[in-house]
């Protein structure tokens, strides 16, 4: 199979720190995995990562590329206002970036921010009761997810503060009428959280088919399970991420370019 990426950009590996390069490879892998899972939305939505050692600099997708075309070198490096710090033939979608930069700046631990518009995520976002504790996967978010009311396309800079407030100390946020957002200390962690949330949303919709009566564990079991998830260290996340990277390498290693 020919590599998916036919996009030619100047390699930047020699022009950035080794730590930044590693984050670039992980973020490019994240875009490829989102595309493989069908969580992408043509050329829209974003996944961003903080540049190691430069807390006000961020990596994000070049606007116009499909997620399966993104490579480590093609990612844009922007400052908090959205100015490009390395030249690139590509531009950025400013309105998306301001949401991401706001979340990064509002949460020191948010080294990666992911955002999707999947039908399942958007559907649960449209349900008044939001995410229900109907599956083991959903219990990870039991009383541990924020909600942000819809205000229109996110071009109002004042909305940034309200998004940060709605996220609070959680790692996941449901954007009403709009989609999902997760954060993580690493790209791997934000991706793992997004995978749980996406599966939880899809399962909820399937379980609700036709208005079937649902079973939900007691609040005590829900809280117990959520605490079990919280006590997990990062080992699982890194192990799972390595497995994902091995899969991408078998399919098309061009994300590493």
């Amino acid at each position: 199979m020919a590599p998916l990426s036919a996009v030619k950009v100047e390699p930047v590996r020699g022009r950035v720190s080794e730590e930044e390069w590693k984050v670039r490879v992980d973020l490019a892998a994240c875009y490829r995995l989102v595309a493989l899972n069908g969580w992408d939305d043509v050329i829209y939505t974003h996944h961003s990562a903080r540049v190691p050692g430069d807390e006000n600099h961020f990596l994000i997708n070049p606007f116009g590329l499909k997620f399966n075309e993104i490579t480590a070198s093609s990612l844009l490096k922007l400052d908090v206002e959205g100015n490009k710090l390395l030249e690139s033939p590509y531009d950025r979608l400013l309105q998306g970036f301001v949401i991401h930069s706001a979340v990064h700046m509002g949460h020191p631990d948010a080294h990666c921010v992911m955002h999707t518009h999947t039908p399942a995520g958007t559907a649960v976002a449209a349900q008044k009761n939001g995410l229900l504790p109907v599956s083991q996967k959903a219990l990870r978010f039991y009383n541990r997810i924020g909600y942000h009311d819809y205000e229109g396309l996110a071009d109002d800079l004042e909305e940034r503060e309200r998004i940060v407030k709605a996220l609070g100390s959680n790692s996941a946020l449901i954007l009403r009428t709009h989609g999902l957002l997760t954060i993580g200390k690493t790209v791997a962690s934000a991706f793992e959280t997004m995978g749980f949330l996406e599966d939880a949303c899809e399962t909820q919709l399937l379980a609700q088919s036709g208005g079937a009566e649902l079973i939900m564990p007691s609040p005590a079991i829900c809280e117990h399970t959520a605490a079990q998830y919280c006590s997990d260290d990062l080992t699982n996340v890194e192990m799972e991420w390595d497995a994902h990277l091995r899969m991408l390498d078998r399919i098309d290693p061009s994300f590493r370019d």
Binding site: V134, Q136, D199, S209, G210, T225, E240
Partner: protein, 252 residues
């Protein structure tokens, strides 16, 4: 990794190949869940040893040689220091294999359709021919949290009773067979039944359910056909030929 073929009995090797094939088939069908969930098979000729996936591999990466041998106490046998298995997997699989000497293989998934039906109060409905195989023949186990409590094994075994399939509430599906092929065949039928159920329920259209007599009659046809073993073996052999054409590395 190095092949263990020369270090195990021929019967164990065949079980390893079949179990690795089941992992590959589950991955191919999209019933896998990253590096989580697990499928097991008892080591032939033993009562207290079984094979399960090493923690950290995708199902598409599983081979006959990489499967980990573990006993009912959770002790890994002939494993190197870096090898680990998932605690919750050990709890669930040892619980079923210890309680049911007739069971040789156990499969467990977290598919969205399976989790969805597990969350519905009425559970699996007799909506399709495939689901009638499970008519009054599928068990339910209430959710208790992530399965890291070994005491849950007793409750799981009690809820399963003498059945071959169990719906883990708010969690997923589990099937048990007298061979890997049979456990996989049951899983395939249960997955299809759940996917068909949520598809049929979409939109809340009125559903047609056969009479109780027809449901029971059909279930008994499945019970007594005597061909389940034969058909599951024939089906599984066909699937292995398909895997052999795609990527025969599972059998290494």
């Amino acid at each position: 990794m190095a092949s263990v073929r020369d270090q195990v009995s021929e019967a164990e090797w065949q079980t390893r190949v079949d179990l690795a094939a089941a992992y590959r088939l589950i991955a191919r069908n999209g019933w896998d869940d990253g590096i989580f969930t697990h499928n097991s098979a008892r080591v032939p000729g033993t009562a207290d040893q079984f094979l399960i996936n090493p923690y950290g591999l995708l199902f598409e990466e599983i081979t006959a040689s990489c499967l980990v041998k573990v006993n009912m106490d959770g002790t890994l046998i002939d494993a190197d220091e870096d090898t680990d298995i998932i605690d919750a997997g050990f709890t669930i699989h040892s619980g079923v294999l210890e309680a049911r000497p007739d069971v040789q293989s156990v499969m467990h998934t977290h598919t969205t359709a399976g989790m969805a039906v597990s969350a519905q109060k009425d559970g699996l409905l007799p909506l399709t021919q495939k689901s009638l195989r499970f008519y009054n023949r599928v068990a339910y186990h209430d959710y208790e949290g992530i399965a890291d409590d070994l005491d849950e094994r007793e409750r799981l075994a009690r809820d399963l009773g003498d059945k071959s399939s169990i719906i883990l509430r708010n969690h997923g599906l589990l099937t048990a067979g007298s061979t890997v092929a049979e456990a996989y065949d049951l899983l395939r039928r249960l997955e299809h039944s759940c996917a068909a159920q949520v598809a049929a329920q979409a939109g809340g259209g009125e559903l047609t359910i056969p009479s109780a007599e027809v449901c029971e009659h059909t279930a008994r046809q499945y019970d007594s056909s005597g061909n389940n073993q034969k058909s599951s073996e024939a089906t599984f052999a066909a699937y292995k030929r398909s895997l052999d054409r795609d990527d025969p590395s599972y059998a290494t």
